[in-house]
Amino acid sequence: MTATTGQPASVAARASDVWKVYGSGEAQVIALRGVSAEFERGRFTAIMGPSGSGKSTLMHCLAGLDTVTRGTVHVGDTTVTGLGDAGLTKLRRDKVGFIFQQFNLLPTLTAKENILLPLSIAGRKADPAWYDVVIETVGLRDRLDHRPAQLSGGQQQRVACARALVARPEVIFADEPTGNLDSRSGAEVLNFLRNSVREHGQTIVMVTHDPTAAAYADRVVFLADGQIVSELIEPTAETVLDTMKKLDTPAEVAG
């Protein structure tokens, strides 16, 4: 099944007939079976599915963190498939931002330095106006000189979000961004992600197994057994939960 919405011109990331196979022979595992999907610019898309459905693999392939066995992946006008390490590094610098479940901040740097790290690595300067906007949005102005160890989990994740946003990438990939947070901090982070899409036109692709989190997205794509099986536009927690229940492994939908 192919999920398509909107015009091709406004696509931020696209997977075309992507297959991902691990191992060979008897130990062979097919993680993705010919997935084709487009993720529109300026929208917040959630990828959902039970554990083992291939949702993380799809995101890794889209972000160029993993190679595909067959098919192609595009981010903006860049063909990710077939890029070497230098090309992938450039892609990460210019087009892609990441938010991880484990925050992944550098303990040696202050919050501000962590936020600006991708830009300094690439040898670029932050746009001061945009930097101000980001700091204001994440609400960390008085915490900028603290090191990660001095921040709470929610604050750390907001630093991580700011880090992804400040470079204005083509697309931000968020991997279970609320997985390590309590529900209040999680809600803060999700609100903040949704606002960056609505107010600043950022594109976000988020992998989650939490229906409440998915409800913040504009659209939810459901995966099962390595294939796209369903999708929802303007989801609510209830509609997401219903769709999940229809999928074969209901045990995953506890959240």
Binding site: S56, H60, L65, K90, R92, F98, N104, L106, P118, I121
Partner: protein, 849 residues
């Protein structure tokens, strides 16, 4: 528990290999030293046994002056040939041969230079015919006074052949001889352990080697059938009386071997000293490795605690790991040590020409040393991390406890205390307050200082590393690298401290030697008013000498104002041994050497008169007019009267005698001459003329004062280079330490590296980051080393002030080189960890939980 330990050991074998390598290198040094000295010792035993195999009993005169193997040359004095008749008349003597054989026959090779022997004796003697040991290979025995036979080794070294006319330097200046025979030794040897031999006819040998006709310096006795060597020894001893030393061949061989082994033991101690340095550095490395491993295994160890392991069992598990590493490393170290010891023995045997090596065996000392050192060092180093491991609470298994930065107060206080102990020991040792244990006290002081500074290093590292890193401030990977190196002060500190030890020792020794060099140079430049100097480079117990006739001929050259030739030897002055000098021109004391009289007359010396330094006068209670008996290496004791006392100075010896005293010295020719020119005479006019005079004295050359100083101090440079090569090993181990620390850090920060790559850090930037971390650590270590080394060197120089080392020279250039080298070391050490970091799979790094 045992199985768990073993499994975790196997799982981390790569990490342990590097730290094990440090132990391997240290153990290699220890066991190599023992194998080398043991092999050489046994080789020399059999050499001497061979050399004295045909000697049943040997008769020699009692030496006039006892001089130890390490202190100079012992002359077994000549005795009248009539003693030979006395010995022949003894019952049980089958054959007695009068022998002349003494060091100091220097053949001038085909290149016009005197052949040297790398310290082995250059014997000159009388040809007593072929024997089981000595066999003519070519030609015949010497029959005329201008004929000699020489051993094959010497002929090869001097590139001379049968029939050549060659010059030989002896007690007399150069005389020319025709080589009529070339001989070798049994077993197809060209030389016995590097010894060169020139054999003359007996009368010539007596004159040239012993200085008088009709004398020998030993008699070799063969016992008649059925007579025991010991019995014959006693009856010969009774016959010749008191003035002689009579020994069996076995005794003689054992004595010779014992003397040589004294030298080998000294050599062994030096090698063990360097092994100790290597092991000290290795200890730091092992300590660090185990600390990191324990830190990384916090969760695992806590889990073991949670499932019921006791603290003791945890300690046991870490120590067991250390024992395993120590054992394996000792085995490899021992094997490598045996190989290197054998190789060095082989090289030495070749150098010594014809030293037939006894089979390489592994002495018990090598095995005990290897395992003792390897195990003890490893376990000791692992003890601290083991104790820390035992303190991990079981709860750590459940939580992701960020280990808080432990305060540095305790370690800093401990460091300050240990450093203070080290400094005190150094003060006591260097100040001469340590009684008979000066060396031990100084070495203890150095060791404690190193450990103390190592403990202080974490505190020092914070500001210094930040300052060093400032260089990279403008470059993001550089900044990250610098931050990483400041991240764990203990780890950085101990890694840097390992490098510190080697560099501090090299710097310290350089400071001492450079200061000595500069002090000597300054002293001579300020005090010696001579434009030209005749001297050579000494390469053995005998100083190089020249024909005394050169002195008068030089004096006759127009423009030469004053020439003073110097003879040097040891003699028994009163009842104490002392260095004595004989001068040909007493007026030079004041006019060339700038001596100042404190009493009496120091401008002239008649036979029977002596001048002494003010220190000597004081310590021996002598004054002008005192009489002192002096026993030289040759002749009977003579009485000298003190006629002048001069102010003590490092360039003037304690006792000065008139030139005629030198005929009783062991070396009867001058070894140095200082030449003062008339004002307005150019050095370049006189120099070639003196050069021409020295044509037949190839051991020395004439040079202006600067060249002379360079030649003399050049020997210090050679010493310095050798020490640097040996200490390079300690530095190599420190480099292993840096590699190890970095490799473990990279492993520890896999996730972080993955993240950095995910947000756009290039591979090259990743490598740059790791490299900067390594460079900061190693430059920090070198900086510490340079500072600590300068301090140690300055302390020693201060202590040697009275010995004439008055100038402190800090080798800035050298220190700069060390820092540059350290940066390079950092870059090299970073290569493997950096490649590893750059290859980290981004997805694997960030996705693993």
């Amino acid at each position: 528990m045992f199985r768990a330990t073993l499994k975790s050991l196997l799982a981390r074998k790569v990490r342990l290999v590097l730290s094990g390598l440090a132990v391997v290198l240290g153990v290699t040094f220890v066991s190599g030293a023992f194998v080398l000295t043991d092999t050489l010792g046994r080789s020399f035993d059999s050499l001497f046994a061979d050399a004295y195999a045909e000697v049943d009993v040997n008769v020699a005169a009692k030496p006039k002056l006892e001089v130890g193997e390490m202190e100079g040359q012992q002359i077994s004095g000549p005795f009248p040939a009539t003693a030979l008749e006395t010995v022949r008349a003894v019952d049980g003597v089958a054959e007695a041969t009068g022998v002349v054989s003494t060091d100091g026959a220097r053949l001038i090779g085909s290149n016009g230079k005197a052949v040297t022997s790398f310290g082995a004796p250059q014997l000159g003697g009388n040809w007593t015919g072929e024997s089981d040991l000595v066999q003519l290979r070519e030609g015949r025995a010497p029959q005329a006074d201008n004929e000699i036979v020489i051993n094959k080794g010497l002929a090869d070294a001097g590139k001379v052949a049968l029939g050549d006319r060659v010059g030989v330097l002896t007690l007399e200046p150069r005389q020319d001889f025709t080589i009529v025979g070339i001989f070798g030794y049994s077993g197809d040897r060209d030389s016995l352990g590097g010894v060169n031999e020139v054999m003359f006819t007996t009368p010539v040998a007596q004159q040239l080697m012993l200085g008088e006709p009709d004398v020998y310096n030993s008699i070799v006795v063969t016992a008649a059938d059925g007579v025991s060597a010991e019995g014959l020894r006693d009856s010969v001893a009774a016959a010749v009386g008191d003035g002689y030393v009579v020994k069996t061949g076995e005794q003689l061989s054992a004595d010779a071997a014992a003397g040589l082994k004294e030298g080998l033991a000294f050599f062994n101690r030096i090698l063990l000293g360097f092994a100790a340095v290597a092991l000290l550095v290795g200890t730091f490395l092992i300590l660090n490795t185990f600390s990191i491993i324990v830190a990384q295994r916090t969760r695992e160890l806590a889990l073991l605690r949670a499932v019921g392991a006791s603290g003791k069992q945890i300690i046991g598990s870490v120590v067991l790991e250390a024992i395993a590493v120590g054992l394996i490393a000792s085995v490899f170290g021992l094997a490598a040590g045996i190989g290197i010891g054998a190789l060095l023995a082989y090289l030495f045997g070749n150098l010594a020409g014809g030293l037939v090596l006894a089979g390489v065996a592994v002495p018990a000392a090598a095995v005990i040393g290897a395992f003792g050192v390897g195990l003890v060092i490893t376990v000791l180093a692992a003890l601290l991390p083991a104790l820390r491991a035992a303190r991990i609470p079981p709860i750590a298994a459940m939580q992701d406890v960020a280990t808080p930065d432990r305060p540095l107060t305790k370690i800093t206080v401990a460091g300050a205390l240990v450093t203070a102990v080290g400094a005190t020991l150094l003060f006591l040792g260097l100040g001469g307050h340590a009684g008979g244990n000066t060396l031990a006290t100084i070495l203890g002081g150095v060791l404690f200082s190193f450990i103390g500074v190592a403990l202080l290093t974490p505190l020092i590292s914070k500001p210094v590393v930040a300052a060093l890193g400032a260089v990279f401030a403008g470059w993001v990977p550089g900044k990250l690298g610098r931050l990483n190196s400041g991240r764990n002060p203990r780890r950085t500190a101990i890694t840097a401290a390992a490098l510190m030890v080697g560099i501090a020792l090299v710097t310290g020794i350089t400071v001492i030697l450079d200061s000595a060099k500069s002090s000597i140079t300054g002293l001579i430049q300020d005090n010696v008013k001579a434009e030209l100097v005749i001297a050579g480079v000494q390469s053995g117990p005998r100083p190089p000498t020249f024909d005394p006739a050169v002195l008068t001929e030089t004096k006759a050259i127009p423009g030469v104002r004053m020439v003073d030739g110097q003879y040097v030897d040891q003699a028994l002055v009163g009842d104490e041994r002392a260095w004595v000098g004989a001068v040909t021109e007493p007026a030079a004391m004041r006019q060339i050497y700038g001596a100042e009289a404190t009493a009496g007359d120091i401008d002239r010396l008649a036979p029977g008169q002596m001048m002494i330094s003010s220190d000597t006068a004081e310590s021996r209670g002598l004054s002008v007019g005192s009489t002192v008996p002096v026993q030289f290496a040759r002749g009977d004791a003579q009485t000298y009267t003190v006629t002048g006392i001069y102010e003590s100075s490092p360039i003037l010896g304690p006792v000065m005698l008139p030139a005629d005293a030198a005929r009783n010295f062991s070396v009867t020719q001058p070894s140095q001459a200082f030449i003062q020119l008339e004002a307005g005479t150019s050095v370049s006019d006189v120099l070639p003329r003196i050069e021409a005079l020295l044509a037949d004295s190839p051991e020395v050359s004439v040079a202006d004062r600067e060249a002379f100083l360079e030649e003399q101090t050049g020997q210090l440079d050679g010493l310095l280079q050798m020490i640097q090569i040996l200490l390079a090993l300690a530095i190599v181990i420190a480099v292993l330490g840096i590699i190890n620390t970095l490799a473990l850090s990279v492993l520890e920060r896999t996730r972080e590296l993955g993240l950095l790559r995910a947000i756009g850090l290039r591979r090259s930037q990743t490598m740059g980051m790791i490299t900067v971390e390594a460079v900061v650590i190693s430059v920090f270590g070198a900086l510490l080393g340079v500072v600590v080394g300068s301090g140690l060197g300055a302390a020693v120089v201060e202590a040697l002030k009275d010995e004439g080392i008055t100038e402190l020279v800090l080798p800035w250039g050298q220190m700069g080189v060390f820092l540059g080298l350290a940066a390079l070391i950092g870059v090299i050490a970073a290569v493997l960890p950096a490649i590893r970091a750059a290859r980290i799979n981004v997805l694997g790094a960030i996705a693993h939980d």
